[in-house]
Point group: C2
Chain length 359, copies 2
Amino acid sequence: MKNSNVYCVIMAGGIGTRFWPLSTSKFPKQFHDVLGTGKTLIQQTYERILHITDAERIYVITDKMYNDLVKKQLPDLQDYQIISEPMGMNTAPCALYSAMKIQKTDANAKILLCPSDHLIINENKFAEKVQLALDSLDQKDGLYTLGIQPTRPDTGYGYIQYIESDNPVKKVKTFTEKPNRELAEKFLLSGDFLWNSGIFVWKAQTIIEAFKKFLPDMHQAMFQIYDDLNTDIEKRKVNKVYPVLQKISIDHGIMERHKTVYVIPASFGWSDLGTWTSLYENSNRNRQRNAILGKTVKLYKSKGNLVHVAKDKAVVIEGLNNYIVIDTKNALLICPMESDQEVKNFVNDLKLSKGEKFV
Amino acid sequence: MKNSNVYCVIMAGGIGTRFWPLSTSKFPKQFHDVLGTGKTLIQQTYERILHITDAERIYVITDKMYNDLVKKQLPDLQDYQIISEPMGMNTAPCALYSAMKIQKTDANAKILLCPSDHLIINENKFAEKVQLALDSLDQKDGLYTLGIQPTRPDTGYGYIQYIESDNPVKKVKTFTEKPNRELAEKFLLSGDFLWNSGIFVWKAQTIIEAFKKFLPDMHQAMFQIYDDLNTDIEKRKVNKVYPVLQKISIDHGIMERHKTVYVIPASFGWSDLGTWTSLYENSNRNRQRNAILGKTVKLYKSKGNLVHVAKDKAVVIEGLNNYIVIDTKNALLICPMESDQEVKNFVNDLKLSKGEKFV
């Protein structure tokens, strides 16, 4: 039997700008089947989480504009399991709001907080590492995170340095920002740096206390409406409080400041699917190293491309190497793979000149 | 007053394969506003022809599958002005069928036969040269064509060599196939070669006689149903006869064999818009030499491209030089400008694997 005080919260409020034009503010990345598996990323996440706790203790926290998408893609969820944010905030408000709601239901709740839009290939290994974190909470309380064993000097991820020990649960030494290439190579060689996966495990009580200490304003604002949580007036109250909360990440706001943070090194075939290149690297590629999602795509003299297009569209490409070609009903992106970090800027440019129409 | 025995026949049965994916067998090139002028090519052709004769003597001959498109785009046409072919044939059957129908109406008819999908910039000059051909018919009967003064050694056009004289109307010496580069350069230097424009002027009687002499089978087949033309049973009869006609061009079938062919050298800013490159060259280009048709197209580090996309679609392109990017609802083409002659092959490949769905 699964542990009855284990809760999972899937964060599904992101916009996924770097995945434009597939991901748009109206229909972001987590609701797409970006890998062509037949399931969207949030559906994959939900099914992965079912290995960890019972369906009735799985929550999704998201911007209210995505409520309908969540309901449609995860029809097993009851209304109480969708935590609706009045607006897209960063991850700290997410963590606090969900923890308070759950803690009010179950004072001994343990929470797995995780993104909805990551790739995890080995689900069993993932479940095993999460279980290790959940079990460890009883022996030594603190904030737990899973750290991914790096396989390359990636400059797109934050890193976590840990203090070496024989225990599979390591004490965290420092969180670092995304490093430059040189530093990333040092991190990789040193052996005690892990990729920050954004997957957290903690007791509801412990994370709430951490907010009280490190983000007291946010804690106070949310604590004011604590009595109203899980009641009919919750929504109205949250609408008032939420806009004044600080838009800060749980990493910056809490993890980097907290003194009792543990990391569990893990390797379960993970990617944050943060850019088109990372999608390319995690996709099936043919002999010409082209990763093609689409039904009628013809490539001539073309290698190393990522082509992503609707099933009912024909695509003919000649003489293109290492490009991204993403076509949707409303927009088309063509750029070199190495420019995938520019996508955010392209989207901003579009916003400036055309408003929200295409983004 | 315009000359009352002058008739114009616009040929609008082509498929424009080299303009895929904009041009498809269901909606070919002549029915598109490929230049972004606000008018389709056949609409531009029709308006150009209005300078030459009265509206009631303008005919369009086309594959019956395009009848509705013609009616929609040229709403002033009466039903009798749309000559409907049971199937797409080459230009010789076009020329004969239209000439017979018109000759039956007016034994002294003079006919301008011209394509529906060419670009002509200087309409006045065009009208002037056509008028010269029409007037010349009275002095020396024969088959007349307009020859375009070449401006470059184009290998995509057929050439017409004429016998030099002081008369603006020249006797044709030879028709040539599309030459290779070396030959095209010789043609250009020689000064007595013109591009074959596919624009013809003749008396109905004279062209019909030419068919009798050079394509006697075709003449005989059509002459059998001569009495039925312009009657209620024309359609039924044509349906029977047309499939057995030879699919041959008017150039091969008649012009190259006829002894009395005249050409009038002309320069009125002409292009057959036969390939994406020719469209590019005839389009407005910005400072980066990009020719863009679309409302929301952002190019970064990109020069010399032709981008053609629907108005309601956003396009972002980075790092592309001298490419063609054509996006329609059903298909997307990306290839180097220099590969524009390959488009036909791309379309054939698609046909082989997917049938007619996308072409």
